[in-house]
């Protein structure tokens, strides 16, 4: 089922949580709403679900071209998954998954035999078949969230809405579940909207990502497009670490397109786009001193202090590269920028 949101706003007393949002999600797509906390992503998701109502004067919310904005949550045929799992504590995993089937009006309710086979099938799908008789308190966080997903899928929703589903889990489990969700979505192909503040998660799982800030969508594109061609400084900054160079304060090497395009503007460079050398071969590199070196798994983070204006720069090297250079603390080195980004409109400094 496709989803189309037209000109939706939501205001809490004075605060505009969501402002004139337009969004189109194609059938079977997995879309992430990515943004810092308070950017309105959860509010938007809750409006799509029907938990919150959009402001008066907002446009329609179309499910397959049919306006559902006046419909109640129970008739929108959505599956909603919470960060807090929201499992029914007094029921086993089996009964949790069966809840939606048992809650149907008796004319539409499947027979007990059918409920049994359907629930077992779903528990199989989320790899929890052996945990059917466990209560939520006896399950780990990751297992609970998978039960919650199976429960949402049991009523065959046409849209799956996930609100920070892996937010309460530790890093390893998150990564595992992310992959698993990707595979699951490949299997069942239900239109899914995922809310997250984790860039890595959004980029890894989604077909398309909508980056949100202060109630607005800054960019809506594929993960690759978003990372390679961020629409503005906010998107760039939100997607990872960066170094900021002011064209005015220093003459960076000529490779910096920004200084030519906008002499007053700022230039952003990712740490791994900074190249460190021992010698200044062409006279265009900038001199710096190594302040600190720290290992972060596959990468080595090197903190540099510029010699001319004493500003600090973060560089990330591969371990291999780091070994080849034989860097030491307090050593004088040179760096150059391999790739940089600058944005015409940049209000924040």
């Amino acid at each position: 089922m496709s989803i189309e949101i037209c000109n939706v706003s939501k205001t809490y007393s004075e605060f505009k949580a969501v402002e004139n949002i337009n969004l189109k999600v194609a059938t079977g797509e997995l879309v992430s709403l990515l943004g810092p906390s308070g950017c309105g992503k959860t509010t938007l998701l809750r409006i799509i679900a029907g938990i919150e109502r959009a402001d008066h004067g907002s446009g329609p919310i179309l499910f397959d071209g049919h306006d559902v904005s006046a419909e109640k949550i129970s008739s929108r045929r959505i599956g909603f998954v919470f960060q807090s799992y929201a499992l029914f504590k007094n029921m086993t995993a089996f009964e949790n998954v069966a809840f939606g089937l048992r809650a149907k009006p008796w004319r539409k309710r499947p027979k007990e035999q059918e409920i049994r086979s359907k629930v077992t099938e779903l528990l199989q799908l989320v790899q929890l078949r052996n945990f059917a008789q466990h209560y939520p308190s006896e399950l780990s966080g990751g297992q609970r969230q998978r039960v919650a997903l199976a429960r949402a899928l049991a009523v065959e929703p046409s849209v799956l809405l996930l609100d920070e589903p892996f937010g309460a889990l530790d890093a390893t489990v998150r990564r595992e579940l992310r992959r698993w969700l990707r595979d699951l979505h490949g299997k069942i192909k239900v239109t899914t909207i995922l809310v997250t503040h984790d860039q890595e998660e959004a980029l890894e799982v989604s077909d398309r990502v909508a980056v949100m800030n202060q109630g607005k969508i800054e960019q809506f594109a594929s993960p690759e497009e978003i990372y390679e061609h961020p629409a503005n400084a906010f998107v760039f900054k939100f997607l990872g670490n960066y170094n900021l160079f002011h064209a005015r304060t220093a003459s960076i090497n000529d490779a910096t397109e920004a200084s030519r395009r906008d002499p007053t503007g700022a230039t952003y460079v990712r740490p791994h786009e900074i190249e460190i050398t021992r010698e200044n071969f062409d006279g265009l590199a900038i001199a710096a001193k190594i302040k600190h070196i720290c290992f972060a798994g596959s990468l080595v983070n090197v903190e540099l202090t510029r010699i001319d204006d004493e500003s600090e720069i973060d560089a990330a090297l591969t371990t291999q590269n780091y070994r080849a250079l034989g860097l030491q603390r307090d050593q004088k080195v040179f760096f150059r920028l391999n790739n940089s980004k600058s944005f015409e409109e940049d209000y924040s400094i």
Binding site: S74, F88, A168
Partner: protein, 344 residues
């Protein structure tokens, strides 16, 4: 001093490391607590039971059960008089026990309905005037029970605001319902006893009891419902469940221990309430609750009987205490789960 895991490390102390303090301070504060509890709780309760049993178990039993002796013609006039007076006393005591139990059942039932409605509307919806409602729920805690009783007298008494209407009201005693048989071709029922008015009838006892107890269930439900939020209800709603089904299968099971806790507190209060019911009872024997009956026996210099009835109330209090402790322990587990769930 570091917080060491002690042997009696209860669920209560989880997450609260002991603050550093001088061992003497610790000992003195324990001693003060123990002395206080002994003087004001343990000694009076023991006294109640010892006074009740002062004339032996036989005398204790005759407070509740009349002597099985029959009015045989061999008895003297004085003996007959004493025996029938004893019987009347036992009847009055039982009447008080029955009235108290009946009031308790009705009050607890109404309290559950009110408590669930109030806590549901305060915690599960954004409600205008929420803090006003919370303050109103707390009102009976801050009003003296005697004032509460007086308030009902001023409302429904002969010269009260609704006095005219109230004193013309006639209502049947539900326990006087009698089966008339199928005499006229259909089942016949009839009340044999009617009350008129509200004040100085059991209805006033009921109203006063409701007033002094209505915060209990609501107050024990609100914090837990607030901690649990409404995610589970929303999840159930998105799965297509009806409001009725959500209430019975999701909301109630989640708060059942808090509900029971409120019910226990409410019951204890109904049994023990004196001030409010004393004002509205009119001191007639028919309106005596157990607490009022104790006062009457005491005023009639029937000390042993007064303490016997008091011992029954104390026993109820002790049972309440045990149930309450068990429930508190369960509640702590439930709210710990809720807190853990909230943590990122």
């Amino acid at each position: 001093m570091t917080a060491e895991p002690s042997k009696n490390h209860t669920a209560r102390s989880i997450g609260k490391p002991a603050p550093p303090s001088h061992p003497l301070v610790h000992r003195v504060s324990i001693a003060v607590t123990v002395i206080f509890l002994t003087v004001f709780i343990i000694v009076p309760v023991v006294n109640v039971f010892s006074q009740a049993l002062a004339k032996g178990f036989h005398a204790y039993a005759t407070t509740f059960v009349a002597q099985p002796r029959s009015m045989s013609p061999g008895l003297t006039r004085d003996e007959r008089r004493q025996l029938s007076s004893e019987r009347r006393q036992v009847e009055k005591t039982w009447h008080a026990i029955k009235l108290t139990a009946t009031v308790a059942v009705v009050v607890v039932g109404l309290n559950i309905i009110f408590g669930l409605a109030a806590s549901w509307s305060v915690t599960k919806f954004p409600l205008k005037g929420r803090s006003l409602l919370l303050a109103l729920i707390d009102l009976p805690f801050s009003v003296s029970p005697v004032i509460a009783g007086l308030m009902f007298v001023l409302l429904f008494g002969r010269s009260g605001i609704f006095g005219h209407w109230a004193s013309n009201l006639t209502w049947p005693d539900p326990f006087s319902l009698q089966w008339l048989g199928l005499a006229n071709g259909w089942p016949g029922f009839q009340f044999t006893q009617y009350y008129s008015g509200i004040i100085f009838t059991p209805l006033a006892i009921l109203a006063a009891s409701i007033f002094v107890t209505f915060p209990f269930v609501a107050r024990s439900l609100i914090p837990l419902m607030e901690a649990q939020g409404s995610d589970e209800e929303i999840a159930a709603l998105s799965l297509g469940a009806s409001g009725w089904r959500i209430f019975w299968t999701v909301t109630i099971p989640n708060v059942r221990w808090a509900l029971l806790y409120g019910v226990i507190l409410c019951t204890a209060r109904v049994f023990g309430e004196f001030g409010a019911v004393s004002v509205v009872s009119g001191h007639t024997d028919g309106n005596d609750t157990m607490a009022l009956r104790i006062e009457k026996l005491w005023n009639e210099y029937n000390t042993q009987a007064a303490f016997s009835v008091a011992s029954l109330l104390s026993l109820l209090a002790l049972i309440t205490l045990i149930i309450q402790t068990v429930i508190e322990w369960r509640l702590l587990k439930a709210s710990n789960v809720a807190i853990k769930k909230d943590a990122p």
